[in-house]
Symmetry: C2
Subunit: 254 residues, 2 copies
Amino acid sequence: MHARTPEKCRLCSMYYDAGNFCAKLAPNELAALASESQTANIKRGTTLNDETIMHWPILSISSGVMSLQHLLHDGRKTIAAFFMRGDIIDMRNSSKRKLGSLIALSNVELCWLSPQIFEKIVSANTKARALVWENLRDQTFRAIEHSSDLAKKQAREKLAAFIFECRHRNPNKAMKDHVEIPILRLDLAEYLGMQPETVSRTFKKLEDNGIIKISDLSVIQILDLPALRKIANGHRAKTRHADAADYKILTVGR
Amino acid sequence: MHARTPEKCRLCSMYYDAGNFCAKLAPNELAALASESQTANIKRGTTLNDETIMHWPILSISSGVMSLQHLLHDGRKTIAAFFMRGDIIDMRNSSKRKLGSLIALSNVELCWLSPQIFEKIVSANTKARALVWENLRDQTFRAIEHSSDLAKKQAREKLAAFIFECRHRNPNKAMKDHVEIPILRLDLAEYLGMQPETVSRTFKKLEDNGIIKISDLSVIQILDLPALRKIANGHRAKTRHADAADYKILTVGR
DNA sequence: CGGCAAGTTGAGCCAGGTCAACTCCGGTGG
DNA sequence: CCACCGGAGTTGACCTGGCTCAACTTGCCG
């Protein structure tokens, strides 16, 4: 049997980005997956409901930003994670633990993948499995890193770290010192566990210090990269803590 | 060829806990894995160095608590994640991103798994693969949940949530309202992004309110479970935020 | 029993949360 | 084309939860 690339897949970054899942599939695998999967466009603010996730626990993001949000009982909201182009979200254990809701932070193109076919492909195709596996581990370690940012960093440090996270995850490497912030200030505040007012003030302070420049709300320009990196890594003038040198690091640095 | 259960595996919870990885393996798979893997006992405070992790990026925890720690440049330290009995830690992408160090928070029994054999088994054995996959997803979602705790919760809420996390993860379900805290206050503070002083004060306040009782530093007794749960879920007297009911949840059909 | 790390208690202070009033901007309808 | 509206973002003034520093007690190990 000779399988052709399905029409909808040609237009999807999961296929045409060489590093993504669907690009790794054999033509007949892609055809099988496509025939049982469905693409969708959803608008900012859309919440994927539990029923949908039950039926389609696995989905891929072709463009836009999805978020996983937790709602506290008194209405406090947290954005716990972002998912962007190329990410595969696997919610198959969502029944075991309350994970929160998947909410679109921008208009999003996504594709619901058939769990059966997905499983079959992952089982048979080594390359595809390695990729999915790596994507999941990335999500894990991103979450872990985010935890540590939230735990100990101050507002300006979190913001600086976030700028680097955006830079790192943006597939468009062309614009060197310009970083796209793909989400609203409001959502950013929730992701970093701060108030929108604080985000605004902190950005302003960084701009006043000549470290960044905010041309447009969604694009910031890094003027002093070393300084920004220092802030992101937690250099501070003075603390109660001893210098890092005082800590006995048993690790062998490379 | 008839493979027998290797001696060291008989004594390891990865094997004798029915739900863990090694228990899912066929005898010859287990024998192959065991012959290329090595168990170790390490003491509290031991850091697994980068070189070790390069050679042995995959390891399983048979008992004790490992942590993944980040060190900020000024010496601030964060415990970003815990790994406990049954967890499989896969550091194979640690070269791509700085993940921090693996440090033992108690005496730990672990087993370094041969990446080659591990990969072979995961590829061939569906049950084992499903288990590893689920464990990894659990780690992801635990990290995500932890992020959201850190982002928006106050000290007492974080502590309450932590008590439930310990309860949830403890394999010993016998003691119903007694929860074991498997780590020191100092480490706990770092995990929750607070100061040891604050941890102490907050525990005391919860005890004064009659919600918990601290018999021994490492065991707390829950006196008023509903109250504790309410706190963990973020019920507060009053906030700036609207009621959860005010949030319009848009949903999209399947 | 001495020494040291872990944990506790108290007092003061500041980063960031809160509230309120405002500007800015894109969309909508007359 | 403009008036209006509502949500996003900003700015200022105020307040408080939890960080900081310091002094102390407790518990553990040799």
